[in-house]
Amino acid sequence: MDFIELKDLYFEYKRGKPIIENINLKINKYEITAILGPNGSGKTTLGKLMMGILKPTKGQVNISNMNSSNMTLAEISSKIGYLFQNPEKHFFCNTVEEELGFALRFNGQDVDYINRRVEELLILFQLEDKKGNCPLLLSQGEKQRLAIATILINNPEYLILDEPTTGLDSHRKSVLINILKELTKKGIGMTIISHDHFFIKELSHRRIGIHRGEIIYDKRS
């Protein structure tokens, strides 16, 4: 099913310097799509356009057949979870525990449910002994894990992950690979933006290469 569709996508920050040029893509919901490319190729920008964090200069992004420009970010996030390249952009609470439960509490969920969900994620991401710590004072790898945990809290049906292996050692990378594989088994598809070949090889069904804002290859394994 074409979950995300990019039509004639064009994006620039400054006039005359396009970051994304003429991209047409259909992203399937039930597989893992990888977007690869060198630094400065436009991968992150493409991910943000897919998520609706950036609005296209020209062209259109459709999510579930609806034009994403007509949707609010919060509406999009009920379907798609987005991971920033810099995990600190996800944090605005004083403790790890608070950070995980924030959105649920704010939306008035039942306290027991919140506690269970938070505990589940703390264990899954090995952050139980850090639950009282301030998110900004964690090590890079711990921040990464917490950020991924926060975007899973609302049970999204799809994920866009921008360089999720930044700062992870090989052990934790394996843990992350397993977590993501489990999620795909539950029917959650994802787009992973990365330059980590090993990580991509382990996970992806489809590999899209981007260079200077244009797609240069699109392979299925």
């Binding site: 920033f84 605005f92 609470c93």
Partner: protein, 246 residues
């Protein structure tokens, strides 16, 4: 064929100071409007992004109008236009004063943006070559860098909140205030932490390693710079004297 003349940032500083001084010292509205036109023209010549400045003014417009109204209420001279019972709300003088105030603020804002057509490095170098100690100039430049850091943090956090499924625009005012107050401390803490780490990196790059420093960037004033500075100061003094003796 026009030759692109690049003006020294110090010249721009002089221009900004002159315009701001005139804007504050001058009284009558016609002159203020003329000065505003001058400021706008100069901004356009320097290719300042006026759209951004207008957006900033738009956001402050609410505050500006409130202050203007307060000014008007507290100046009780002149013919009364509007009054409620014994309280004079609007007088001719009051209207004039608030209009002056609005024009002055806009002049100062527009002229300040003239400075933004030079990079912060150039401005710092300009001040240093004028004799300001580098430490101070640099700290000022960093302080200027700090404010956008804070606004970046706030923007990022608001996006992050929406990404968690919280519809900021659709929740009640009370809940919104509670949201903002809840995240205010961590956002401020985040900015301060960022600033601390940045200052660590700056120290490790040798900041203040010696009593002075060399500079790769060297500014040279051209004859245009001197000419414009002379014209600006002459114009300002001339105009200022006329206004004082009116």
């Amino acid at each position: 064929m026009t030759k692109e003349v690049k003006l020294d940032p110090r010249t721009k500083l002089v221009i900004v100071l002159c315009i701001s001084t005139l804007g504050i010292a001058v009284r009558d509205i016609i002159s203020l409007l003329l000065i505003l036109t001058l400021a706008l023209t100069i901004s356009i010549i320097f290719k300042v992004n006026l759209k951004k400045s207008f957006n900033k003014i738009k956001r402050l417009l609410y505050l500006i109008i409130v202050i203007a109204i307060i000014q008007s209420i507290f100046s009780s001279e002149g013919d009364i236009i509007l009054s409620v019972g014994r309280v004079m709300l609007l007088t001719i003088n009051g209207l004039e004063k608030s209009f002056q105030f609005i024009l002055r603020i806009i002049i100062v804002i527009i002229s300040a943006t003239i400075i933004t057509s030079s990079s912060s490095r150039e401005i710092v170098q300009g001040l240093v070559q004028w004799g300001l100690p580098y430490d101070i100039a640099f700290m000022v430049a960093l302080g200027i860098r700090f404010l956008p850091l804070l606004t970046e943090e706030i923007k990022d956090s608001l996006i992050a909140i929406q990404l968690r499924g919280i519809e900021i625009r659709k929740i009640s005012i009370r809940k919104r205030i509670s949201l903002y107050s809840h995240i205010f401390t961590p956002i401020l803490a985040g900015t301060i932490l960022k600033a601390e780490k940045l200052s660590t990196a700056i120290e490790m790059r040798g900041f203040r390693a010696y009593d002075s420093r060399t500079s790769y960037l060297v500014l040279k004033m051209s004859k245009w710079d001197y000419l414009i500075i002379f014209i600006s100061i002459a114009f300002t003094s001339f105009y200022g004297i006329i206004c004082i003796f009116r």
